[in-house]
């Protein structure tokens, strides 16, 4: 037996994404955001996207490009306080925004990746985050039904990949990438480094290649990936 090769170009991998797709984007702030894949989404002019991401990055970087280019219909997010463009687009009704508690967004995505239909939680009960949600009673306790989330596509930023799609991440660039890399019909990875099969120890793999469809090696790390001077 041998493991198949999933390396491809970014152009080709992104070309398969249809307009109207539901797209998960890894990252929390700068670390782990697939900036180059987002640029390719913009370059190919994919429209009417529903984007799922922890945050809206900052003005002029990452997910903000999709807002400015008018390619995003809806944003499912935990916090967009650092991006005035995103807040303005929300307030002016140019994008629809759904706000989630951060850990519940992570768990809903993970549940999607785990093939579960929903999780039951008391997080957000008696707050306005519970409004409109299904409530059930279990063992005498009222709980919120938080449905699993899956996407058409997940765009993932890895530090290192092998051709089968086994991935590792660095430090806090891990964040939402592993759960998202399990929760989409098509998982596209940009990687800072590509190593041969066997180049990642089987114990060190953080996302098993089984979940991954396309590996796109990055040819350069643009300044968006860098340290932000504030």
């Amino acid at each position: 037996m041998s493991l198949p090769d999933k390396t491809t170009t970014m152009e080709e991998a992104v070309a398969a994404i249809p307009d109207g797709a539901v797209v998960m984007l890894g990252g929390f702030g700068v670390p782990g955001t697939p900036f180059t894949l987002i640029h390719e989404l913009v370059r190919q002019g994919k429209r009417d996207l529903t984007v799922i991401k922890n945050d809206a990055n900052e003005a002029g970087m990452g997910v903000d490009h999709l807002i400015v280019a008018g390619l995003m219909r809806k944003l499912i997010v935990t916090h967009l306080g650092l991006n005035a463009n995103a807040i303005a687009a929300m307030n002016e009704g140019r994008i629809k925004v759904e706000l989630c508690a951060q850990g519940i967004l992570a768990e809903r995505i993970r549940a999607g990746g785990a093939g579960l239909q929903a999780i039951l939680t008391d997080i957000g009960l008696e707050t306005e985050l519970a409004e409109g949600k299904q409530v059930i009673e279990m063992a005498g306790k009222r709980l919120l039904v938080e449905p699993a989330i899956r996407a058409d596509v997940a765009l993932i930023h890895a530090d290192c990949a092998d051709p089968f799609g086994n991935l590792t991440y660095l430090a806090t660039a891990r964040n939402f990438n592993p759960p998202m890399a399990m929760a989409a019909e098509r998982v596209i990875v940009e990687t800072e480094r590509l190593v041969p099969l066997g180049g990642i120890s089987p114990d060190a793999v953080e996302t098993p290649g089984v979940f991954v469809d396309h590996i796109c090696p990055l040819t350069q790390i643009s300044e968006e990936y860098g340290v932000v001077r504030r």
Binding site: M1, L3, G115, L116, G209, V210
Partner: protein, 226 residues
């Protein structure tokens, strides 16, 4: 493992069934082979064949099984066999292992069976009063693999059919079996019921029908053999 090609000219009927089942695996698939007959499919894959074998105790990319002397005490498959890694293998915990199964990343599972119904129902984990050790991972494999096929002898030790109109034993999963490989035939589960697809060489369609506990629909033209 055979030498660059799928096995040919296997004589023993069970081995022939296993060799035929191996040809069900397409390049690039992620496959889980159940304990028993299905595990033997591995021996009939061409060397270097691009396939990712999954085992539910937490490994994708199973390599060849190892003899006692060469075994790693920390590396087994779900049946307890000592296996080896390939370049590109990964290990993960039991939650991730079944995440893969339930979320649709398992292209194919090959399972054993006590009974299969013409509706695709499968019973393979419990004989009430005699054998009820728990289903392990079988429920999820049978319910969630993108394609579920069964490897089984066509009849039990007493000669009773295992392919039935309805299962009599507790079900593992309802309506998910797509194809059955036996020592006598390859049988598909279709909306009309069982359909004969191939015959073991030397076996007739009539013999297969007589060993089957439900109507066997025959194809229009010649029936291929394996």
């Amino acid at each position: 493992m055979s030498d660059g090609n799928f096995s040919e000219n296997v004589q023993d009927p069970r081995a022939r069934m296993v060799a035929r089942a191996a040809r069900e695996i397409a390049p690039g698939m992620v496959v889980n082979l159940g304990i028993g007959l299905p595990t033997k499919v591995i021996d009939h894959l061409p060397e270097g064949f691009p396939v990712c074998l999954h085992t539910e105790n937490g490994m994708a990319g199973i390599g060849p099984t190892l003899p006692y002397e060469a075994a790693d005490r920390n590396l087994i498959d779900a049946g307890g066999a000592y296996v080896s890694p390939l370049p590109g293998t990964s290990y993960f915990d039991s939650a991730v292992s079944f995440a893969l199964v339930r979320s649709g990343r398992l292209d194919l599972t090959m399972l054993g069976a006590f009974e299969v119904a013409e509706s695709g129902d499968l019973a393979n984990w419990k004989i009430p009063g005699k054998f009820s050790p728990g289903a392990g991972g079988a429920i999820e494999l049978a319910q969630k693999a993108r394609r579920v096929v069964v490897l089984t002898t066509h009849t039990d030790r007493k000669g009773n059919p295992k392919l039935l109109r309805q299962c009599t034993l507790p079900l593992t999963a309802r309506g998910h079996v797509a194809r059955i490989f036996t020592d006598m035939a390859v049988v598909d589960v279709t909306p009309r019921g069982f359909a004969l697809v191939e015959l073991a060489s030397g076996t007739t369609a009539k013999e297969v029908q007589e060993a089957t506990g439900a109507t066997l629909h025959l194809p229009a033209g010649d029936i291929p053999t394996f």
